[in-house]
């Protein structure tokens, strides 16, 4: 199986993001699998940016430790990353920008006048990135036409035909330069080329698509990294899909708008990161007590406070589980990859409406912004279920009780403009009609009614997924975006002859207590993997099942796990364990 990793590094603000994306997408077009990860500081220009793309003939789920090709746009990038390049790998650098003094061993150095090549044919400095793309492509046996195609797609739309073709010219110049000057280098050879159509998509885009497909007609949000691109994407499509996309004065307004739209009968969503979510907490309770469906996306980043805005972490789990005063049912879903982002967002809208409660989709920067390769989403099975919408005359409209105490806890939902079913949606405790009521008996009735919904829902969902062999020495437990690196770690462990499996917890609320118990009670060595400091899922498992995991692999430096890192920790743990 052929695979390689490619990294481009340079100053922020010089188009590295677009360049990296184009690189990955070109290979996906060519029928391969790509996965990317970017790293950038919370600055607009300057500061160091990287974009890493891993490409493979076989499905891949995350980036990996080392790289085969480094494109160093500046000195800093060269020095910082040169040692990440594997033996036999390549380093392309811009001879117009800097000179190198020392070079790592066993690595092919390709000094290329990127800027000159870019500008020679009338391009701008920034087009040197395309030169680098062409040059990089030349190090593989994949047809350069895929690169040209993707460059064209990306630039034509945004900047017009002319700019697109100058960019292609630049790529071509790079490609030819390598062909000519480094023809003796051993290329990365792919053996097959399946040519199935696949998507190259990141978590935020997948969520946006899921929402559109689910009939989300109202998206209100306040920009916040790493959630902002959901706003951008939906805004771009607002006319095509008749969605009202509203940037609000703050997050408080955003969630209240989503709640208002939903009350009026429209599927609605908001999205933010932890700091913005903090401002939404009060409104979660409002949605809950008025039983108004609402979907909230929280793309996590490292806290506390502003923290590290452009990095990743899984540290808001407990926060979302308990945010807002008082007790009420909510649903918390943590997709682990881009397709789960899509399908679970679709589900989120159905759940929110069927159970008339807030649903939180918990992702993080790593999942939100990394593109992965996936089959085109399968749309057949996706059915809209709006739950118990009251149609005229049913039940007897004369005595309509919006908060009727039913066995399931779910009551018929009427919408403003429906005749004879006027009701009050109330933020105070209320009786079945929605009228304020402080009586203790009514209070218990309404609390129990609301919580019953969660019990019913529990029966409907499968909250976990299970990967790997049944009879394993090692059981890895994780949630959310660690999925990719864990799946890759499983591959490595398997190669090393270790029997391992992986329990992914997708629904954090309602917590799949039974499934988790069943799996963990039988598990030999339970290893928790979380991108946080306090092992929040670990605590939750203990609380819900009484089970202690055996080891915790925790990372809280703002970076996602690398598969090899997980494997190394596991090996460490196992070795230590022998004593």
């Amino acid at each position: 199986m052929t695979e390689f990793s490619w990294k481009i590094g340079g100053e922020a603000g010089y188009g590295i993001m677009t360049t990296g994306f184009i690189f990955g997408k070109s290979f996906v077009r060519a029928g391969f699998f790509a996965f990317d990860i970017n790293e950038y500081p919370s600055l607009i220009r300057g500061g160091h940016n990287t974009y890493t793309v891993r490409v493979s003939e076989e499905p891949i789920f995350s980036h990996t430790k080392n790289i085969n090709i480094l494109v160093a746009l500046n000195d800093f990038a060269f020095e910082k990353h040169k040692n990440e390049v594997k033996k036999g790998g390549f380093i392309i650098y811009d001879t117009d920008t800097f000179n190198i003094n020392s070079k790592p061993k066993d690595v092919n150095i390709l000094p290329i006048p990127l800027t000159t090549l870019a500008t020679e044919k009338g391009g701008q400095n920034i087009m040197r990135n395309n030169v680098a793309l062409g040059a990089s492509f030349a190090l593989t046996n994949v047809d350069i036409k895929f690169l040209y195609e993707v460059i064209n797609d990306v630039f034509k739309e945004k900047k017009g035909e002319n700019i697109a073709s100058t960019n292609i010219e630049a790529a071509k110049a790079g490609y030819e330069f390598v062909q000519k000057n480094f023809s003796n280098l051993k290329k990365i050879e792919f053996t097959h080329n399946r040519k199935e159509k696949r998507m190259y998509i990141n978590g935020n885009e997948a969520i946006a698509l899921g929402a559109i497909k689910a009939g989300c007609k109202f998206y209100a949000a306040y920009p916040m990294t790493p959630a902002s691109s959901i706003l951008h994407y939906l805004a771009l499509k607002e006319y095509d899909y008749n969605i009202i996309v509203k940037q609000t004065e703050d997050e408080i307004s955003a969630i209240h708008m989503a709640i208002g739209a939903s009350f009026a009968g429209v599927r609605a969503m908001t999205g933010t990161s932890g700091g913005g979510f903090a401002l939404m907490t009060e409104a979660l309770g409002l949605a809950a007590i008025t039983e108004t469906p609402v979907v909230v996306v929280l793309a996590q980043r490292p806290g506390p406070s502003t923290g590290m805005p452009t990095h990743t972490e899984q540290s808001d789990l407990r926060f979302v589980l308990h945010a807002s005063n008082g007790e009420f049912p909510r649903v918390v879903i943590a997709p682990g990859d881009v397709s789960e982002c899509f399908y679970e967002t679709f589900n989120a809208f159905n759940i929110a409406e069927k159970y008339q409660l807030p649903v939180i989709i918990l992702t993080d920067k790593f999942l939100a912004e990394s593109h992965a390769t996936t089959d085109p989403f399968f749309l057949e099975g996706l059915k809209i279920d709006r739950g118990m919408m009251l149609n005229k005359g049913q039940p007897e409209a004369k005595d309509y009780k919006r908060y009727e105490n039913t066995i399931t806890g779910i009551s018929f939902r009427a919408l403003p403009s429906q005749e004879n079913v006027i009701f009050k949606a109330a933020t105070d405790e209320h009786n079945e009609y929605g009228r304020l009521e402080e009586d203790p008996v009514n209070r218990i009735l309404q609390m129990d009614k609301r919580f019953r919904k969660l019990k019913v829902l529990e029966g409907e969902i499968v909250g976990t997924k299970f990967y790997g062999v049944e009879d394993a020495e090692i059981t890895i437990i994780g949630w959310g975006s660690t999925k990719g690196p864990i799946l890759e770690a499983l591959k490595i462990l398997a190669k090393k002859g270790m029997r391992a499996n992986y329990l992914q917890i997708v629904y954090l609320m309602p917590f799949p207590t039974n499934m988790v118990k069943v799996v963990l009670e039988d598990a030999k060595k339970k290893i928790l993997v979380e991108n946080n400091k306090t092992a929040q899922l670990g605590g939750l498992i203990k609380e819900m099942t009484g089970i202690d995991v055996d080891y915790k692999i925790l990372k809280y430096d703002g970076r996602p796990f690398i598969p090899e890192e997980i494997v190394a920790k596991i090996e460490e743990v196992l070795t230590f364990d022998k004593f």
Partner: protein
């Protein structure tokens, strides 16, 4: 024909007997009757406060939201179903205090809703603290030594924020207030109606008598012209021996909804969401 009676709920308001809120409730009901709005097409969105209890006692749809948050909810309801008549109500603390940001931005946004502020210059429901409109020096539970800051000026803020309909009413003059609410609802755009509302339990300064003595109607002043923003701004600061009520300012401009092709044909809520075709989006991602 919508009647006053059908708008009246069985439950009686629990406001303190004599509270100015009664006048506002009556005026609002009157206005709905006068405009003959079908009651199921009216949604009242309230904040939290004595004022926020209003929708309980008028037989229309209602969303009782959080303290300060009536406006975002109300705007979204309107956008989601612009065939509805959406009226937001709230207190001075609610709208001009904790809700200030929503207030300012809703006005420039010009969604076609009516906003009635029960301005009693006090926090009523929390039993009598100073509010953003309490007068300088005002003594209250939270300012026993007298309030230091001067009050906010909602009329001036509205004028500064491109509000397209700016009015002030008095809960003690139900007929006049009814007329203002009628105009506000008829107005195409965001209509602010700030209502001087005596709180008989906690505000012993700004009483009925206080206002009776002072209020006069702008429409009775022939020299006044409600299309002149500068004049309106000047009037906005008149507060003393004489206090103007009536329409301060009005302008016609496009509503927010007017600029949304998404709902030019069908209200959002009526659009079919089954079988939405996203294949072209998937295609773009391939």
């Amino acid at each position: 024909m919508t009647s006053f009676e059908e708008l009246t709920t069985q439950e009686k308001p629990t406001w303190c007997p004599g509270c100015g809120n009664f006048g506002i409730l009556t005026a609002l009901k009157n206005a709905i009757v006068e405009l003959n709005l079908p009651k199921h097409e009216v949604v009242i969105v309230a904040g939290i406060g004595c004022s926020g209890h209003l929708p309980q006692w008028i037989n229309t749809f209602a969303f009782h939201s959080l303290h300060g948050r009536a406006l975002p909810v109300a705007q979204a309801i309107k956008l989601a179903n612009h065939k509805l008549k959406v009226i937001a109500v709230g207190g001075d603390g609610d709208g001009y205090g904790i809700g200030t940001a929503h207030f300012i931005h809703a006005m420039r946004r010009n969604v076609n809703i009516t906003y009635i502020v029960h301005n009693n210059q006090i926090y009523g429901l929390t039993t009598g603290q100073a509010s953003p409109t309490s007068e300088k020096g005002f003594k209250s539970k939270s300012t026993p030594h007298g309030l230091i800051e001067p009050p906010v000026n909602p009329i001036a803020l509205a004028l500064a924020s491109d509000c397209s309909f700016v009015a002030r009413g008095f809960a003690g003059d139900v007929k006049h207030l009814t007329h203002l609410i009628v105009q506000g609802i008829q107005h195409k755009g965001f209509a602010l109606i700030d209502v001087l509302q005596p709180c008989i339990s906690f505000n012993y300064l700004n009483t009925y008598e206080y206002f009776m003595k002072r209020v006069y109607k702008l429409e009775e002043d022939n020299s006044y012209n409600f299309t002149n923003k500068r004049l309106a701004f000047e009037k906005a600061f008149e507060w003393g021996e004489k206090i103007p009520i009536g329409l301060f300012y009005k302008e016609e401009r496009k509503t927010y909804e007017d600029e949304l092709p998404q709902i030019a044909e069908i209200p959002l809520v009526k659009q079919n969401i089954n079988e939405i075709d996203i294949s072209s989006l998937i295609e773009e991602m391939c």
